[in-house]
Symmetry: C2
Subunit: 321 residues, 2 copies
């Protein structure tokens, strides 16, 4: 078993550029439990410098290829950059998932780029907690840019992508895409829109659609109007301009205090999720188990309704008086 | 405001056949909150006799028409029957929704049939809690059969349909449908398969596909092998046979103790969902406190990791020593 000292040593090695140590730290974070918490706590002491960019959009929009181009463009500027790709195991995702090996080819020999997939293992809720911890580890390991890429097809994925300093929403040319993005709640979280595959027909029309939808929605309270950019991820066209837009947004958020506010809110959301989970553990811990079983029996037997049963359980375990 | 006595009176009126009282009770349940809990608690005292049949499948599979035929077939046997149609407002659902008025036409003047849609109002999680409460109300109102119909496109909908005594999964002829059903996790929850629109090409092939998939999966532990039935919901063909299969499954579950076991597990799942939600309320109540704010600040400032912060909060509020 890893001790606290081992964990600190692991993070130190990751900070000195040891990619195997970094991989082990991320695996620990992905696995959850106490090891994940120790790694996260050790990482937190060195984190706070990284800037998090979220990328989301429907399956097949070309997010992975675009992410690859963004990594290349950032590396040409000399910055280290890491990517967390959230692997959707959703039963309805369908599309093939571009594996790490394929993505990595272009950056495999580059020590300044680190790309990692995080699997859901059928436990989506876990990702909500694992993602910020993984970002913390990459931040501590000295990556000033961290891209979190998710497929925007479920609330959890949308939430994860939206929990970034700057969120990029990727759509393709065609009316349906803008509408779908709107339906999926992507319009609300977008700081920057990208019409990828912009060499196809209908890119301009999609830009107009998006801009109209944005105008119909209420203007962002922070005074930022999401720009709509065009990219062709297969050639890299537009990747530099996209980084330009990210940096514009970053400057805006830093100047207006929006960045601090966002990070504070992100922290509180994370703490809230952790608190709920801890309370759940406390409620179902010993003492709770016996009470739980007998209360469940009363509900199944029709003597008690489940809400009253839960209130009684909370009293039994001392969470309510 | 309704008092507890009012609520009991409402359920009593619904039990005496007052459809307006029943509708009001269901609206209360749908709305959530304390009124929903009072209604559910009052209903629980009279519930326990109803048998719940879940129907699910992809949009357009003909579930609503089939449900209408099932209602007709059951009424011809003289049994009262209620339908809860879960209205999918999922951003990705797309398909048109058959309204209550259309469905009701055939049974509008029939006091022994009651059909009701429950809307998600953008709050899918709420349905997980509202559905068993609504079933409890219909059960208390004296409907020995309750059909819960959902479109099987999301985990929540699949969970709701699967939380029945007998679950029917509806597919259409064509290889894609069986594969989609499998991907969506519908194979695991199916007690009975129905190939609806069986007058179309490919019905036999789809039956073979399904039976092969079932053979490849591990055999059900309870010894029940899901039969694959054919229906044509536009004509009613197969509806009587489908009820026959439901009754076979019911007999099997009653004999083997599977029914009690399922209901016990269903109760525990419901209690767990309620528990998590109550804990979430308790956690939110902490959100505004001074201790919370100062801990969140430390986390945002990088002095503390969020897990340690939550542990300290639990100590502060006396839930941990």
């Amino acid at each position: 078993m890893q001790t606290i000292d081992d964990t600190a040593a692991l993070i130190d090695r990751a900070r000195r550029g040891d990619r195997r140590a970094l991989a082990r730290a991320l695996t620990a974070v992905e696995g959850g439990g106490e090891a994940a918490q120790r790694v996260g706590a050790a990482a937190a002491r060195h984190a706070g410098q990284g800037y998090v960019v979220g990328i989301t959009g429907a399956p097949g929009a070309g997010k992975s290829t675009l992410t690859g181009q963004l990594v290349g463009a950032r590396r040409r500027l000399g910055d280290r950059i890491a990517v967390l790709a959230i692997d959707p195991s959703s039963p309805f995702s369908g599309g093939a998932i571009l594996g790490d090996r394929v993505r990595m080819q272009a950056h495999a020999t580059d020590d300044g780029a680190y790309i990692r997939s995080m699997a859901t293992r059928g436990h989506l809720g876990g990702l909500t907690l694992a993602t910020p911890q993984a970002v913390r580890v990459l931040d501590a390991a000295g990556y000033p840019w961290v891209i979190v890429e998710t497929v925007g097809v479920g609330q959890v994925e949308v939430d994860i992508a939206g929990a970034a300093d700057t969120t990029i929403v990727v759509v393709n040319p065609g009316w349906g895409d803008a509408v779908q993005a709107n339906k999926a709640g992507l319009l609300e979280i977008a700081d920057i829109f990208v019409i990828n595959k912009a060499d196809r027909d209908g890119a301009e029309a999609t830009r107009n659609d998006l801009e109209q939808m944005l105008m119909m929605g209420k203007l962002a309270e922070d005074g930022w109007i999401p720009p709509v950019l065009m990219t062709v991820s297969t050639t890299g066209q537009g990747a530099d301009e996209l980084w330009g837009a990210v940096e514009d947004h970053r400057t805006h958020c830093e100047k207006t205090g929006v960045l601090d506010e966002r990070r504070r809110r992100r922290t509180e959301t994370e703490m809230h999720t952790i608190l709920v989970r801890r309370l759940e553990q406390l409620a179902t811990a010993q003492g709770g188990t016996e009470a739980w079983r007998s209360l469940a029996e009363s509900v199944t037997g029709g003597e008690l309704d489940p809400y009253t049963a839960v209130e009684r359980l909370l009293v039994t375990v001392g969470l309510r008086s």
